[in-house]
């Protein structure tokens, strides 16, 4: 207080704070005094965009978040959506979705690994068993082997692989794009799924009646790593700060996490036992007999803002305060200053709120049964404080009070109204920028064009990348990564219930029109989930955009949300979890392509009826359902009808293989289905044997461009219909109930037979061009980056 604005700015900067002058004055005014150093850092973290969503929250409210399957909506560490019932128990799928973009750009291995580590804790702390992770990656142009972009692209994958593989959680789906716009700022989005019985959910809040309960910190010993991570992720990366930024990145320990997860599962089981016992004996707390496990405990992941952020949020969410003694925190190095103990973002830590009569057993499970102190240096579970009735957040250190603030003021919502300029909506966009399609007058060129497209970094095989991930640990895999449009698991032993997960978000669309890119991200993710035989039940989003202080970039962000909201509302699917990552730009001020990245969760009642992309029959019955063109305005009436048709057809067991056509050509998509047999190809596409007129009419093209038809952009699904032919007729009859047939949005592709290659018409008759070199062209681009 009493300083001029300029002096205050300098003083704050010296103290390492990124808070603005008006924010600093607001804090001092509220306190009636200058904040202590610990308090300054605490507000620095809590009021960063990363924690406060100050410039995004009011726009995010446009997203639909309610629905009859929503069990826990947006607001906790993870969302939960109802999957189904098994043996009279209701099961929920827990889902969380986050970015770790800035850390991954600065220290790719640790940044990406801690991204996985953090998202796994978000799911774990809901009382769930973690069953899957997924990753959506956006890298710069990595074509040059010597480039930093190549290094980032490789090392991020190494980090995700090292972490996910060690903890034993399969990586079931994901996507990757390479684009110059990410040269200085890669995107690493991670998604995690968990399974939980709905009456065993633990919330990220101190339970009702928990004043006086213990606050228990569990996990890695606190060290100086990751100090200032929250505010770091809310600034723009500058090359000269790279070394300083590195200190803000956390250090992963997947080995400790593996044990921490298993120990926590044991604690969940123990809490179930205690609850049953208390119910049986009628034992009660002051405020009544606990009904569910959530009445017995609160559990929350330590992320941004460290011990302070987590303990303040978990207590304030229950309407309580907290009193914490930093001297009780297990540390890795002596004499750490209090602000680092309180706010540093050391990984692999969680906080429990537990009744004192239960605490000793929980400590025993972590420290003795699972020997945390032997697994990692000074790792343990320890009581560090108490939940208080008084709504204050108080920190003690070395006998002194180093922080004492109104907990509501610390964790309550703040809002920045920033100016924005909306991007001009595009009317008819034609194809995205990378589209190589040209009218091709002769069929031999079709093969050439197909080769060009198959070897495009955006559409080539992803297998060399995901082979680095353990995609099948836990043994519950139904559709492994890469085998189908979405990953599918059977998460409940003995049950036929399945869960599907797909991700989507094409940056080339984001460049053209952020709003429509948002719509397409939703629609594509939904189409993928449907293509494995699932019913879409929930969405999550991570909004990766530029600097909100730049009105154009902020406008793109708002437009992106509008697109997501429109599509989700039209398709009646709620968002249950999400994350915002702003300030994704390089120091030159160039923002990344607008990147709303979406994950869609699907429910499957009976995993008997799932489909992969692999063609099942030697002479498959194939149809294309959809429309020509790409990135056109979506007709939701038709979209809903097509989706309803497919969901029901899957349930009847009529579809046995499926692939989504995402603005690529039908021939290209068909070829990729054939390549799902690996190098041992067993199908031929006979282009001498297809009904051109029907196809061309559908494509809206003229006969002289006939070869173009197969390569031209289309959107929809290629479906293999079950043999025998009665089933095929059943599907057609069934499909005729839908108006889409009248719209001509489907065609027969019954020209795929046993064999290997493209059979094409040439002036001399016909020619068979074996697929082998196309297969190699398809595998090669990513194999060079990920050998």
């Amino acid at each position: 207080m009493g300083l001029s604005d300029d002096d205050l700015r300098v003083a704050a900067m010296r103290a390492g704070s990124t808070l603005r002058v008006d924010e600093l004055r607001r804090i001092a005014q509220q306190f009636g005094r200058d904040p202590s150093l610990v308090e300054l850092h605490a507000f620095d973290a809590q009021w960063s965009e990363h924690c406060s969503y100050k410039s995004s929250r009011h726009h995010l409210q446009k997203l639909p978040t309610t629905g009859e399957r929503v069990v826990v909506g947006v607001g906790e560490d993870a969302g939960i959506v109802h999957l189904g019932e098994h043996n009279g128990e209701r099961y929920g799928i827990v889902v969380a979705h986050e970015s770790h973009n800035h850390p991954s750009q600065v220290v790719p291995f640790e940044g990406a690994a801690t991204g996985v580590g953090g998202i796994v804790r978000d799911v774990l702390c809901m009382g769930a068993e973690v069953i899957a992770v997924a990753d959506a990656l956006r890298f710069g142009n990595a074509a040059n082997p010597e480039s930093h972009q190549r290094y980032v692209a490789q090392t991020v994958v190494d980090g995700i692989s090292a972490y996910g593989n060690a903890i034993g959680v399969p990586n079931i789906t994901g996507d990757v794009y390479f684009h110059d716009g990410f040269d200085d700022n890669c995107l690493v989005n991670v998604i995690a799924l968990g399974i939980v019985k709905e009456n065993e959910i633990i919330h990220s809040a101190a339970p009702k009646g928990s004043a006086g309960w213990d606050i228990v910190l569990v996990g890695k010993a606190t060290d100086p790593s990751g100090f200032g991570g929250a505010s770091f992720s809310s600034v723009t990366l500058a090359a000269e700060d790279e070394d300083a930024n590195k200190g803000a990145v956390q250090v992963p320990d997947p080995f400790l996490k593996n044990v921490l997860m298993r120990a926590s599962y044991r604690v969940f089981a123990y809490l179930r036992e205690r609850l049953d016992e208390m119910k049986k004996n009628g034992t009660s707390f002051e405020k009544g007999v606990p009904e569910v496990i959530g009445d017995l405990a609160g559990f929350k992941d330590l992320g941004a803002g460290g011990i302070m952020g987590c303990s303040a949020e978990i207590c304030s969410a229950g309407g309580y305060g907290a009193d914490i003694n930093l001297d009780n925190v297990n540390v890795a190095v002596p004499n750490l200053p209090p602000e680092i103990i309180a706010i540093g973002e050391t990984q692999e830590r969680l906080i429990w709120v537990l009744p004192p009569e239960i605490t000793p057993d929980v400590l025993r499970i972590y420290n003795e049964e699972f020997t945390l102190p032997e697994v990692a240096y000074n790792a343990r579970a320890a009581v560090i404080g108490t939940v208080t009735e008084a709504p204050h957040y108080v920190l003690h250190h070395a006998g002194e009070v180093v922080m004492d603030v109104d907990i509501e003021f610390l964790t309550g919502s703040i809002k920045d109204e920033l100016p924005f300029v909306m991007p001009a909506p595009s009317e008819d966009l034609g194809e995205p920028a990378h589209n190589p399609y040209k009218p091709a007058p002769d069929w031999r060129r079709v093969e050439k064009l197909l080769e060009t497209e198959l070897s495009n970094p955006d559409s080539c095989s992803r297998e060399p990348l995901y082979r680095h991930y353990d995609t099948v640990v836990r043994g519950a895999t139904v559709v492994a990564r890469g085998a189908g449009e979405a990953g599918v698991l059977a998460p409940i032993p003995g049950s036929k219930l399945g869960v599907a997960l797909a991700v989507s978000g094409n940056p080339r669309y984001g460049e053209i029109d952020p709003s429509r890119a948002g719509e397409f991200a939703v629609v594509e993710a939904v189409r993928k989930v449907i293509a494995v035989g699932a019913r879409p039940i929930a969405l999550t989003d991570c909004l990766n955009f530029g600097n909100p202080k730049n009105p154009e970039q902020y406008g793109q962000f708002i437009a992106g949300i509008d697109g997501l909201a429109d599509a989700a509302r039209e398709l009646a699917i709620p968002f249950v979890s999400g994350n915002v990552s702003l300030y994704n730009e390089s120091s030159s001020g160039a923002a990344i392509p607008a990147s709303p990245i979406i994950a869609c969760i699907g429910a499957i009642d009976d995993i008997t009826n799932v489909a992969t992309r692999r063609l099942r029959e030697q002479n498959p019955h194939l149809i294309f359902l959809g429309s020509h063109g790409s990135f056109r305005r979506i007709d939701y009436e038709i979209e809903r009808n097509m989706q309803a048709l497919l969901i029901e057809a899957f349930q009847r067991g009529l579809i046995i293989a499926a692939c989504v056509v995402n603005g690529d050509g039908i021939l290209e998509a068909l070829t990729k289905m054939i390549f799902k047999d690996g190098s041992r190809i067993r199908h031929e596409v006979d282009l001498t044997d297809c009904n051109h007129e029907d196809l061309l009419e559908n494509a809206g093209r003229t006969a002289e461009l006939e070869s173009d038809y197969f390569l031209a952009a289309a959107e929809g699904w290629i479906l293999e219909i079950a043999d025998p032919s009665e089933t095929y007729r059943e599907f057609i009859e069934f499909a005729e109930h839908y108006m889409i047939l009248a719209e001509r949005d489907w065609i027969n592709l019954n020209f795929v037979h046993e064999g290997n290659g493209l059979r094409i018409p040439v002036p001399e008759g016909e020619e068979l061009r074996p697929f082998d070199h196309l297969y190699e062209a398809w595998m090669k681009p990513l194999a060079e980056i990920y050998p």
Partner: protein
């Protein structure tokens, strides 16, 4: 009395749940035994070491856990003729413990499953393994047909069998090479081996045939739902594929 099987958990093990599940689904009485509860191990009739990264693969995969206290009981049991099955990290531990191929002293490994080649990187890939010994040569494979082909997932960074040329000859001649990598049609050539493993080795057994160390995971392709597009029969939940090895293990216990 029915034989009891311990599924061991070291710090860093990660495949215990599905391993336990397939054992139980084929009728084995199996229980998890955790590293801080190791004192119960002598009471069990057989041991299964599941996959993971025990002790973080420090030094070399399997090197530290081979010296864990729990392995004292496994080694003693193996020497008494108890069945021991190690999968992936469990297989690495059995090599480091000197139980397979078992031609040298205990805890003085003569061969190792080490970094994949040519690229020393983790690989996750569906592969087939083919029984390369007479079924009865190893008690755990005794109930399999000759040349049985089993679907599995390779998921490891250190799965390449490495040993001196002379020792590899000994492994081949002594009938230690239990499974080799194969294509889906049963043919075996170097392109079927995902990790550059010497002799195309996917699994080794000891001289007595009571210990089997297999690198790829049969328990990850062990139910119809794991291979939904080529299932055996209608019920999606029944064991199939890789379950064959566990059935044979169950038969040997009976």
């Amino acid at each position: 009395m029915k034989a009891r099987v311990a599924v061991l958990i070291f710090p860093g093990t990660n495949s215990e749940a599905e391993t336990l599940r397939i054992l139980r689904d084929v009728g084995v009485h199996a229980e998890l035994v955790h590293w801080s509860r190791g004192e119960t191990l002598p009471q069990y009739d057989a041991y299964v070491l599941p996959g993971g990264f025990a002790y973080e693969d420090r030094i070399r995969a399997g090197a530290i856990p081979a010296h864990d206290r729990m392995m004292d009981d496994v080694i003693t049991g193996a020497q008494k003729g108890k069945l021991v099955l190690g999968i992936c990290n469990g297989a690495q531990i059995l090599l480091e413990a000197g139980l397979v191929p078992g031609t040298g002293p205990i805890r003085r490994p003569t061969a190792a499953f080490t970094h994949n080649a040519p690229v020393p990187h983790f690989i996750c890939k569906h592969v087939y393994v083919k029984l390369a010994i007479e079924p009865a040569r190893c008690a755990i494979t005794a109930a399999l047909e000759k040349n049985t082909l089993i679907p599995t997932w390779a998921a490891h960074g250190q799965g390449r069998l490495a040993a001196t040329a002379a020792h590899l000859d000994e492994i081949g001649a002594g009938g230690h090479l239990a499974f080799v990598y194969a294509h889906a049609d049963g043919t075996t050539d170097t392109s079927a081996t995902p990790n550059g493993s010497a002799l195309g080795c996917a699994a080794l057994t000891n001289r007595e045939g009571n210990v089997l160390a297999i690198m790829p995971h049969p328990e990850r392709d062990a139910w119809n739902f794991n291979h939904a597009d080529h299932r055996e029969g209608d019920d999606i939940l029944v064991p199939s594929g890789g379950a064959a090895l566990f059935r044979s293990f169950a038969r040997a216990l009976a």
